[in-house]
């Protein structure tokens, strides 16, 4: 049994967007706070802090999950991906990000990082997803600005573009 004492800070190491990172965390430190405050990657947003809103969704070992429902000490050794890892290079957007811009799929942008991380994984696993499947996947996110229609339109167009690239 490996014990990490409540009042101390412990070394946590993982891979974030392909780079090895490390920092110190109390056992109770949430992964959201660790990524933002300790690592300094503030693209991941903190909304409800109880798993409902989806704003903090990141990819843990390749699958979307709520960072706010995860302890930093739990992901020691894992591979994490956040919104900062989506764009292929500085000044360029990923296909999903580009189609979000085109379709005005965000207004305030608070929920966007989480939605992008869900859709990125979902479209990789389900390249032929139809609107119903996309809407069901999006049901894990709350957006108070858009009414979701532009998000669905952006996701459908991104899916089509990704299919074209795959088939080319």
């Amino acid at each position: 049994m490996h014990k990490l004492a409540a009042a101390s800070r412990h070394l946590v190491r993982f891979e974030l967007n392909g780079k090895a990172v490390e920092g110190l965390a109390e056992p109770r430190t949430l992964l959201t706070d660790f990524i933002r405050h300790e690592i300094g990657a503030t693209g991941t947003h903190v909304g409800c802090e109880h798993g409902v809103c989806g704003a903090c969704t990141i990819q843990i070992d390749g699958v979307p999950a709520r960072a706010c429902l995860t302890l930093a000490v739990q992901v020691d050794g894992a591979k994490l991906r956040t919104v900062e890892g989506l764009a292929p290079e500085q000044g360029r957007l990923s296909i999903i990000q580009e189609s979000f811009r085109k379709h005005h799929a965000l207004q305030c942008g608070f929920c966007t990082a989480g939605i992008l991380m869900s859709l990125d994984a979902f479209l990789k696993a389900n390249p032929d997803a139809d609107e119903e499947a996309l809407r069901e996947n999006l049901s894990g996110h709350i957006c108070r600005c858009t009414g979701y229609a532009p998000i669905v339109a952006a996701a459908l167009e991104a899916a089509e573009k990704l299919r074209e690239i795959r088939n080319a």
């Binding site: 014990k3 990490l4 109880h50 302890l71 894990g140």
Partner: protein, 274 residues
């Protein structure tokens, strides 16, 4: 909204978990965290220690054993949903799992964790109840298997003792000559169920289980009724659940959902008798 302090214990074996639960006061098992983590953050739970069981390999298995699917305590809901034999071996479970939370929470949440939490509107306890499944608990004192009907004892309350961990749950496999169906109604997909129904039927047998209404999932044997009697029997069942008004629905609306969805679910199950 941050958790209060606790020690973090990373268990490497089932024995580690048993010892910690027996020796450490107010320790709680942490698996997928999809219900314990919000409770920690809201400080509804303030354990002295959390015992992370997710790195114990022996708990990560799905296997068919003695006419049941045995799902270990570290099996995530998404893993069971992706198990290739699921739909064939237990269609009711395959139908209900997509209703558990959202894809993003099923990627972390465990099957046994949902049973441990025992939310009255949760799908996994409902399926266990409908299928007459069981929960395998163990401690330093030994292991025992508890039937679902005895395991869920009330609102978020189970028959698990403080020093016991859930090691696995057992879902009986599909029986020849039986049909299964599941229906749920909530305000939005992924929300808590206002009412959820699971039906297990054969030519001579009708078993209906209801979640979201009473303080726990409840099943009733409605065998031997003709169509007219069945509607009356479901109505009696609906009233027996002692529905209450809350923010989301009135008691009478919930009873109406039980009547309508109950009969529909039984019909759907009859249509797929194999």
């Amino acid at each position: 909204m941050k958790p209060a302090q606790f020690d973090y214990l990373r268990a490497e074996s089932i024995g580690d978990v048993h010892r910690a639960l027996s020796e450490v006061k107010d320790a709680r098992v942490l698996a997928g965290g999809q219900t314990l983590m919000p409770m920690l953050s809201m400080r509804l739970a303030r354990p002295s220690s959390v015992i992370d069981i997710m790195r114990i390999e022996a708990l990560g298995r799905i296997e068919e054993k003695g006419n049941a699917i045995r799902v270990g305590a570290a099996v995530r809901q998404a893993k069971l949903l992706a198990w290739p034999a699921l739909k064939d071996r237990q269609p009711l479970l395959a139908a209900a799992l997509p209703w558990v939370g959202h894809a993003q929470t099923r990627n972390r949440g465990t099957v046994c964790g949902s049973a441990a939490h025992a939310d009255p509107s949760a799908e996994i306890p409902l399926v266990l109840t409908a299928l007459e499944g069981s929960v395998e608990v163990s401690s330093l004192r030994g292991a025992r298997k508890v039937a679902a009907a005895e395991f869920f004892t009330g609102l978020m309350t189970t028959a698990r003792a403080d020093d016991e961990m859930i090691e696995a749950v057992h879902f009986p496999v599909r029986q020849p000559g039986h049909g299964y169906a599941f229906n749920e109604y909530g305000r939005r997909h992924g929300d808590f169920a206002l009412v959820a129904c699971a039906a297990v039927v054969s030519r001579t047998r009708v078993r209906l289980a209801i979640g979201g209404v009473s303080d726990r999932p409840v099943a009733r044997d409605l065998s031997g009724t003709n169509d007219e009697e069945l509607a009356q029997a479901i109505n009696d069942f609906a009233w027996s659940l002692e529905a209450r008004d809350d923010l989301h629905a009135t008691a009478s609306y919930r009873r109406q959902l039980v009547r309508e969805m109950g009969i529909r679910t039984i019909r759907e199950a009859r249509a797929c008798i194999s």
